[in-house]
Each structure stands twice: as structure tokens, then as C-alpha cells.
């Protein structure tokens, strides 16, 4: 799958409380969650994000709470893919489980800037910064996770096991 979008860049340790503050967690409606995505660190994000846009973060992206509302809010906001130097483990699981594409690439996360236009070929882990011309390769997923991703997330994967 090929993705193209403009970049919103964030720093290290972007926690799930800023991705979606707990004061909005009295609902699980994705559209409502998306309205408040990132608002405590970038108040213009939710209104400005365009379908297909790409989030780029530093180390430990998605740290903190296990709230799946965080990747749900990012996905519902229209973000096509998150690239980071590293992901906190629960966020990593949650993103894969719900089918939000994530790519781990310290080089790409370092080299890509706010507002750059970036192209991603997901199944190859290929990242190209159209603005600068730089190319990157993300870390490959283990085989089991590739199966999960191919199934469209954990629910579909479990379904195929006959539950």
C-alpha cells in the first residue's frame, strides 16, 4: 500500500495523555476523539490535519496509558501512518491491532521535518521524503505481526482462527 502526505512533526516521549487527554475519554466515539487529538501539544492539529497526513515522532512515541483511544483518535483524524524513532510497547501493539500503520525508523524520524511531503510504501517499509529527496527503510516487522497486519488487525486475525 502506498501513502503520500504532509508531515506533522513531534518530539520525544509523546504520551497518550497529549495524544488524547483523559478528559475526553468518557466516550469511545472515534470522530469525537479525533476532534481533540494532540490538542494539548498542538492546538491547531485537529482542525488542520488533512486525510493522508503523516505523523513523525521521536523516541518512545505513545508512552503512558494503554488507552487504545490514542491510536483510534490518530486514525480517525485521517492520519495515514506514524513514523517514529521508537514506539512505547502498548501503543505499538494497539496500533497494529487496530490497523493503524506505524513504522520505526530513527533515520527517517530525524531527517524528516514539519510540513515535508513524504511517500511511504508500507509493505516494503520504504519511506521517501519528497521534499528533500532522502530515502529511508523502516525496521521490518516479525513474521507474526506481518500476518496480523495483513489480516487487517487482531480482531480479523482471531476470527480466522474460528472463534
Amino acid at each position: 500500500m502506498q501513502i503520500k502526505g504532509n508531515v506533522w512533526k513531534f518530539g520525544d516521549n509523546v504520551d497518550t495523555d497529549v495524544i488524547i487527554p483523559a478528559r475526553y475519554l468518557n466516550t469511545s466515539d472515534p470522530i469525537e476523539l479525533a476532534r481533540h487529538c494532540m490538542e494539548d501539544i498542538n492546538a491547531s492539529f485537529a482542525a488542520g490535519v488533512q486525510p493522508g497526513d503523516i505523523l513523525v515522532g521521536g523516541d518512545n512515541f505513545g508512552c503512558g496509558s494503554s488507552r487504545e483511544h490514542a491510536p483510534i483518535a490518530i486514525q480517525a483524524a485521517g492520519v495515514s501512518c506514524v513514523i517514529a524513532k521508537s514506539f512505547a510497547r502498548i501503543f505499538y501493539r494497539n496500533a497494529i491491532n487496530i490497523g493503524l500503520p506505524i513504522l520505526e525508523s530513527p533515520e527517517a524520524a530525524e531527517g524528516i521535518n514539519e510540513n515535508d511531503e513524504v511517500e511511504v510504501i508500507l509493505d516494503k517499509g520504504y519511506i521517501r521524503n519528497i521534499t528533500t529527496g532522502c530515502e529511508y527503510t523502516a525496521q521490518e516487522f516479525p513474521l507474526f505481526m506481518r500476518d496480523l497486519i495483513a489480516a487487517g488487525g487482531l480482531i480479523n486475525y482471531v476470527k480466522t482462527k474460528g472463534y
Binding site: 483523559a22 468518557n26 483511544h69 512505547a88 476470527k159 472463534y163
Partner: protein, 419 residues
């Protein structure tokens, strides 16, 4: 080549003789839990799977604790989804008002988690139960849904980091200070994807409450789980509570560790983590002049009876500073009642504290003590991220209950010895 306690528990639950770090296993779970934020999302996902029944209705726990007593209509609707699900699938471990508690304080107290268990929970602080010598880790709602249907969960066997803690903790130094010190030492991603194993003679002096606090915050260093080898104290705690048999695992002498860290706990002083990351820990003597507007004593980190006893000891015969709002929140109904019986509730209320029914409430900026812009709180909770307790321009400082209580009296962050 031996195995760590974490590896042994994972191997046992995957029906394997041996597991090694990096290996992906499918493990059977002893308990799956969720709260009023995560369970409704899990229930939706569970319905998408189309399973006719849950894998074992006695191995699921549903605990509405974050926004309870329901703070508004939306929160009430979320809990209604949980209640209906519990009724429909015959889940008796549904703990609502009157019998509820903060999940990670309640479930071990009820004996629903014991040594040797493998527990997954749709809450990041599920790692708390490592204090019993169990493997427990936080996941998301979809993982919870899949585990409710299948009774299994995929887990990548983590490498283990060993923290050898030696020496007797000094006055006012608790499990909270040790874990804040460790997070300060290794950083908020210092244990990313890894197990954190805490050992050493310091644990001869650490109560079960201290141990729960330590393992509770393993996630704040990015850890997959925190774990403390069970000893006589663990067995004493479980005796009379345990709802099923426990197994005591210990690490082999020749187990392989990612790294080993030695900590002289006798040299520690109470720690305070400054905004906006738990790794910004420094000794309270180096806190400087930080005035506060609010103090919160409670949460899954520090809402146990031992924590309330310390707070009451500090506050006995004293008054909370007029400029400070002190909120004390017992972790469970049982702790609440015990605090009344011991006279702690009276001491706290007389000192000028609000004494609340159990709830996560202010810890995550849910309700029951939200901060305005520019306000500062000292809290015995676990996170001090931007906006964690309310306004994005508010600040949270993390500490142990003694420091929080003393600071509530002084109106600024101080050691209990300073009041």
C-alpha cells in the same frame, strides 16, 4: 542456561519447557481485566469477533474506577455497557459502587491475582501485580477483547533488567522513592519492552504496599512488567485471600540479564519527580521553593492502607495550609473502612483534607480534583505529563505520601522533617 522468573512464568503459560527473550509465544491467561475507559472499547471489539461466550467467565474482571462514581452522562453510559456485558456473559467479578476499588489495589486484595499468574489488563498499570511474583502487563482494548474470547494472548518474551537493591531505606523513604529514583536513573524509556526484576535485601524492609508501588510504575520506565521474587511476606499476604493456587517462581542463578543495576537504598532520600516526565526525579532536599495549590494522596500507586497511615501520621495534630486543597482517596472500600476504623479518616478530615470514595479521579484529570491553568499539585500518583491532572498549563509533581502530606501543610514541596 537458566531462566528468569519472568521467563519461567511465560514458559509455564505457553506449555513450554524453556522460553528465551525475543521469542513470540501464545500464552494462556489467568485473568483479563478492563476498566470503564478501556472495557467499553473491548466489548465493541469482542462483539465484532462474534464469539458466543467468553473463554472463562471467572477469569475476567471488570472494574469501573476511572470516572466513578459516574461523573457525567457519557461516563455513566460507558459503565452501563460494562454492566450489561457482565450480566449477559455471567461475569461475577464486576465491581461497581459499594464494592469497588481502584482495579490494581482491589484485585490483589480480593485474591484474584496470585504468585505465578499471567495477567493481562487493558490498563497500563496492570504491571502492578508483579509485586506478588506474577507476570502482568498492560495492553489495549483489542488485546483484551481477543483474550476474553480465546483465553490467550501473544507475547514477545522480554529481556530482563535486574535491579539489585541493598540496604535499609531511611526515614520517610518508601517504595515510591526507590522506583522514582530508578526511573530517574534509566529514563522513561530505559526499560522499553523489557522486564524489570527487583531483588536484594532491601525487600526485607519493603511492605507489600511498597512492592505494589514499585511494580506499578515499571511502565513509567517503558517496562513490559515489573516483578519481585515472592518471599514469606508475599505468601502471608496471599494466605486467606487467594482464590486459586499460587506458584512461587524464582530466577535461576545462571539466568541471563540484559543488564544488572546495583542500588544502595540506604543512601536514598525521598524523591520528587518534576513536570512533565516521571524521569525528572530529584531528592526532595533539592526541590527548591515550589509552592503548591493541591495535594493528592491516593491512586493505584499509593492508595493503600499503609499509605494512608503515613499521611495520617504526618498530618496528626496539624492543619493543611489554607492555600492548599488536600484530597485523600483510599484505594478500595475495604481500605476506606479500615481507615475509618483506625481513626485515620478522622485525623485526615480534622487536618482539613477531603476524604473521598475510591476512584482514579484526579490522577488522570478525570474528576474529583482537576487543576486550573497555572496551578501546581503534588501527588502520590504515577504520571506528571502535560495536562495529566487538568489544564495543559498546570503542573504535577510526584512523591510519596509522607512528602505529599507534609507539603500540604507547608504549602510548598518539603520533606516531612521540615514541618
Amino acid at each position: 542456561m537458566g531462566m528468569t522468573i519472568t521467563e519461567k512464568i511465560l514458559a509455564a503459560h505457553a506449555d513450554k519447557g524453556v522460553v528465551r527473550p525475543g521469542e513470540l509465544i501464545n500464552a494462556g491467561v489467568d485473568l483479563v481485566l478492563g476498566n470503564d475507559i478501556t472495557a467499553p472499547v473491548a466489548i465493541k471489539a469482542f462483539e465484532k469477533i462474534g464469539a458466543e461466550r467468553v473463554f472463562d467467565r471467572d477469569k475476567i474482571a471488570l472494574v469501573p474506577d476511572h470516572f466513578t462514581p459516574n461523573k457525567d452522562i457519557k461516563a455513566a453510559e460507558q459503565v452501563k455497557i460494562m454492566r450489561r456485558f457482565a450480566e449477559a456473559y455471567g461475569i461475577k467479578n464486576f465491581f461497581e459502587i459499594g464494592c469497588m476499588g481502584i482495579e490494581h489495589t482491589l484485585l490483589p486484595d480480593k485474591g484474584l491475582v496470585v504468585a505465578g499468574d499471567l495477567v493481562i489488563g487493558a490498563d497500563s498499570h496492570t504491571c502492578t501485580y508483579g509485586a506478588l511474583g506474577a507476570f502482568s502487563t498492560g495492553m489495549g482494548s483489542t488485546d483484551m477483547a481477543a483474550a476474553m474470547a480465546t483465553g490467550e494472548c501473544w507475547i514477545k518474551v522480554p529481556e530482563s533488567m535486574k535491579f539489585v537493591c541493598t540496604g535499609r531505606p531511611g526515614k520517610w523513604v518508601s517504595g515510591k522513592d526507590l522506583i522514582l529514583y530508578i526511573i530517574g536513573m534509566i529514563g522513561v524509556d530505559g526499560a522499553l519492552y523489557r522486564a524489570m526484576e527487583f531483588t536484594g535485601d532491601t525487600f526485607d524492609y519493603m511492605t507489600m504496599a511498597d512492592r505494589f508501588t514499585i511494580c506499578n510504575m515499571a511502565i513509567e520506565a517503558g517496562g513490559k512488567n515489573g516483578i519481585i521474587p515472592p518471599d514469606q511476606q508475599t505468601v502471608d499476604y496471599m494466605t486467606g485471600r487467594a482464590k486459586h493456587d499460587f506458584i512461587l517462581y524464582v530466577s535461576d542463578n545462571d539466568a541471563i540479564y540484559h543488564s544488572i543495576h546495583n542500588i544502595d537504598v540506604s543512601a536514598l532520600e525521598p524523591m520528587v519527580a518534576f513536570p512533565h516526565l516521571p524521569e525528572n526525579a530529584r531528592p526532595v532536599s533539592q526541590a527548591g521553593d515550589v509552592s503548591i495549590d493541591q495535594a493528592v494522596i491516593g491512586s493505584c500507586t499509593n492508595g493503600r492502607i499503609e499509605d494512608l497511615r503515613i499521611a495520617a501520621k504526618v498530618l496528626k495534630g496539624r492543619k493543611v495550609n489554607k492555600k492548599v486543597r488536600l484530597i485523600v482517596i483510599p484505594g478500595t472500600q475495604e481500605i476506606y473502612l479500615q481507615a475509618i476504623r483506625e481513626g485515620l479518616a478522622e485525623t485526615l478530615v480534622e487536618a482539613g483534607a477531603a476524604f473521598s470514595t475510591p476512584t482514579c479521579g484526579p490522577c488522570l484529570g478525570g474528576h474529583m480534583g482537576i487543576l486550573a491553568g497555572g496551578e501546581r499539585a503534588i501527588a502520590t500518583t504515577n504520571r506528571n505529563f502535560v495536562g495529566r491532572m487538568g489544564h495543559p498549563q498546570s503542573e504535577v509533581y510526584l512523591s510519596n505520601p509522607a512528602v505529599a502530606a507534609a507539603s500540604a501543610v507547608a504549602g510548598r514541596i518539603v520533606s516531612p522533617d521540615e514541618i
